[in-house]
Symmetry: C2
Subunit: 471 residues, 2 copies
């Protein structure tokens, strides 16, 4: 990148918006887990859509590759530049304006750099709910949520980020702005272009703002911790809960005993809700917009039926918000707890909910054959078919030896997932980590269509190259 | 079209699947309202995806244009061929297999030719709900619902057809089959191609099957008929209902007095629920998956608050299913009743819900200035911002003179809609009727992107030409 371009960038976004000092750039060049690192010619932080457009246009003219970045909390390296030192990181974090909140239309219009939690808070302040909820919500941005079509714990009721989005504003690879910021629930006037940008991980353009859906605020909640004999019982329990509670079912997380063991061992204050050990656990949450909704009665009716049918071995319903929080902490502590047990090999897959039991049975067996004693930390949002199929080394095993099996073990999980018509990336995207392996699991015709779209929108290949599409 | 091609088509789909006799073709060449008529070289009715692929490939080789067609119930002429006599109508009505119903995954997999009501029925038989509901549900097909991204009365709670679709199977314009029939609620492995075909009205390919979402069955319902001073009161009432009833609000239809007057005059058995005349009415529906859900109490609480705030002038809550059906009949009779009053000029627009009052005020005034005494039959699903802004001639006016004003009057409604950031086609699509006028309301850059996608998928322009994209 020529000094000339840097100068033009400074002119476009102001001096403080262009970072080229290596120390100041460092935080933008490595993801939060320290799993991916790159270098960059500069980091540019525009403050408005027009400034984003100016930056992208300058890069387009100069043939410089652009890596859009939000909160840098991705898990697949999608927002980290390569090692060439020629790419430009385009950070959206200065674009943090909430442009509009329309209660009657149940929409909020926000810029890409707004932190997810700020959107949740703004909605709550207006007596509304923005339901996207995930671990990184305190630091991830709406732009990143859109680029990766983020998921999380509320998807079984509210859908993914795509489902929550009515309109987007995008800077295309040549620097032109497409204003698709419509706040409409019905609009059938041609191809739904916004859908291409959502989930494209910045490879087709830069999303600069979006109109998102709001929902009625939640005013009552019931939370239960349940012991189960296995995943099939969990799937059957979801069926009972849906039949009884309908849309009130807003959370259903499953955890293997291994997952809970790690939390009890490593998370201070964690306590087993039951006296006995069980094979599997589920965390169930019902919620309602009515302040007095009888949810405890509803959840007890459903669990009673499940106990009778032998699906539930033991259960406790939280009697206070503090107790509910303690139950959620058992679930949310898993990822962190696993780090204390050596390297974690993480996988993020979905299958149809009905096939979860087959996936667990087949994958567990194959994994144990490949690495006897491997500890399988299975947990996730099985209400929407999503499991985080994470692995720790056998007790006493060697870290490096275990790491060396990473790609074999991933293959095992992906092969079983694929055989059950599942997806090898449920909610984390492809980024750089899965861009090559996806070619083995997606049919070549679909990849050809994807490449055609990439070529159409970004013929010079300047938008986040090396991500999503196999090389 | 050469006889040679007809012969090959017969070979591909069987003799009974190719219709070239003019009398037998007639039903496929005119839409159900007799608003659009065309001619065709043949009507082909394949019975499987492979047969669809064979037909499309043959047409591709021969350079013959293809017009996909479902139940032929569209309102914009999108499934009617042109008058050249060279196009081929591809009817999907023989593809009526329900391929799978997976209760645990809450999905149903159906072919394009299945009637919407058959899907509703199959879901109900499994204790589930398929929530898409619209006037033509007894004859429209799932393929048509997908091609036009159908809406209807349940959108405020369940979304449009797009929101209800997890996967699609498509025959591309060159005859290749893309199997995107995934039943996954989370899948982030590249561009979401299905979104391009949904709502594309057959211009990018032929959808042959889809995986659709199911929901918990509705087991209780409350229905109210409400008199209101105006649209702003209706919008405010929606706010109260959402705050009190949350997701239980599954229907909110508004009707001007003019709409109700026509029904009372022309629909036998229709009866005004109130003794006095009021300016505006709303039909409110709450529903719940619980068999005993206290909905009457919930709706009465909400209406009580609305009466106190002066938003509701009078209200009646249906005390039986029969009474609820009678209230719905008042709403559903509008379109038919209007036909007795001379020509109906129909418009289907959305604005953000918060802007409905401004739209009605501005459009009504401008319409009355243009044609004094014009009777405005305003009604629709304002819970999702959608109004059917239909017009009848002034009392004693001349039919032809009124018809001659059609495009002026449409412009008035579309201009006001557009100024309020709305859409000139909410749920009917563009078809042939709005394909030219859309160019005045959509920015040229968006149309350019749409044309690029059309060119990418259908470079020879053989799929439903003359629809959607401006000429």
């Amino acid at each position: 990148m020529t000094g000339n371009l840097i100068e033009r960038l400074r002119h476009a976004v102001g001096s403080s918006g262009v970072i080229s000092d290596p120390d100041e750039m460092a935080g933008y060049l490595t993801d939060w887990r320290n799993a991916y690192t790159g270098t960059a010619a500069a980091v540019v932080r525009p403050g408005s859509t027009e400034e984003v457009a100016a930056v992208v246009e300058l890069c387009h003219q100069a043939g410089v590759e652009v890596v859009p970045q939000g909160g840098n909390t991705g898990l697949c390296g999608g927002a980290v530049p390569d090692s060439s030192g020629r790419q430009l990181v385009l950070s959206l974090t200065r674009m943090r304006r909430i442009r509009d909140l329309d209660v009657a239309n149940q929409t909020i219009t926000v810029e890409a750099g707004v932190i997810l939690q700020s959107v949740q808070d703004a909605a709550a302040a207006a007596g509304q709910l923005f339901p996207l909820s995930l671990g990184a919500e305190g630091s991830c941005t709406i732009g990143g949520n859109l680029a990766t079509n983020a998921g999380g714990t509320g998807v079984l009721r509210y859908g993914t980020m795509r489902d929550l989005t009515l309109g987007v504003e995008v800077v295309l690879p040549d620097g032109r702005i497409w204003n698709g910021l419509r706040g409409l629930r019905k609009d059938n006037t041609g191809y739904d272009l916004k859908q291409l940008f959502i989930g494209a991980e910045g490879t087709l353009g830069v999303i600069t703002a979006a109109v998102l859906k709001l929902f009625p605020a939640v005013r009552s909640r019931a939370t239960a911790w349940v012991a189960l004999p296995g995943p099939q019982a969990a799937v059957d329990l979801i069926g009972i809960l849906r039949a009884v509670a309908g849309d009130r079912l807003t959370g259903f997380e499953i955890m293997s005993r291994q997952s809970v063991d790690f939390v009890l061992r490593h998370v201070s204050g964690a306590r087993d809700p039951f006296g006995e050990r069980h094979l599997w656990y589920a965390l169930v949450e019902l919620s309602d917009s009515l302040p007095v909704a009888g949810l405890d009665e509803v959840i007890e009716t459903a669990l009673g039926e499940a106990v009778e049918r032998g699906l539930v071995v033991d259960a406790v319903v939280a009697s206070s918000a503090a107790q509910a929080a303690a139950l959620w902490a058992l679930r949310e502590g898993i990822s962190e707890a696993q780090n204390h047990e050596g390297p974690s090999l993480k996988h993020d897959v979905t299958v149809p909910v009905s096939r979860i039991p087959a996936l667990v049975e087949r994958a567990d067996r194959a994994l144990d054959e490949a690495v006897p004693g491997v500890r399988v930390v299975t947990y996730g949002h099985i209400g929407d078919g999503n499991l985080h199929y994470n692995l720790s080394k056998p007790v006493g095993g060697d870290d490096d030896e275990f790491r060396s099996r990473a790609s074999d073990l991933a293959r095992i999980i992906y092969d079983q997932t694929s055989a059950l018509e599942g997806s090898i990336s449920a909610e984390h995207g492809l980024g750089q980590s899965k861009r090559e392996i996806i070619a083995d699991y997606k049919d070549s015709y679909e990849l050809e269509l994807m490449r055609g779209i990439k070529q159409l929108f970004d013929p010079r290949g300047l938008m986040n190259p090396g991500k999503v599409l196999p090389g």
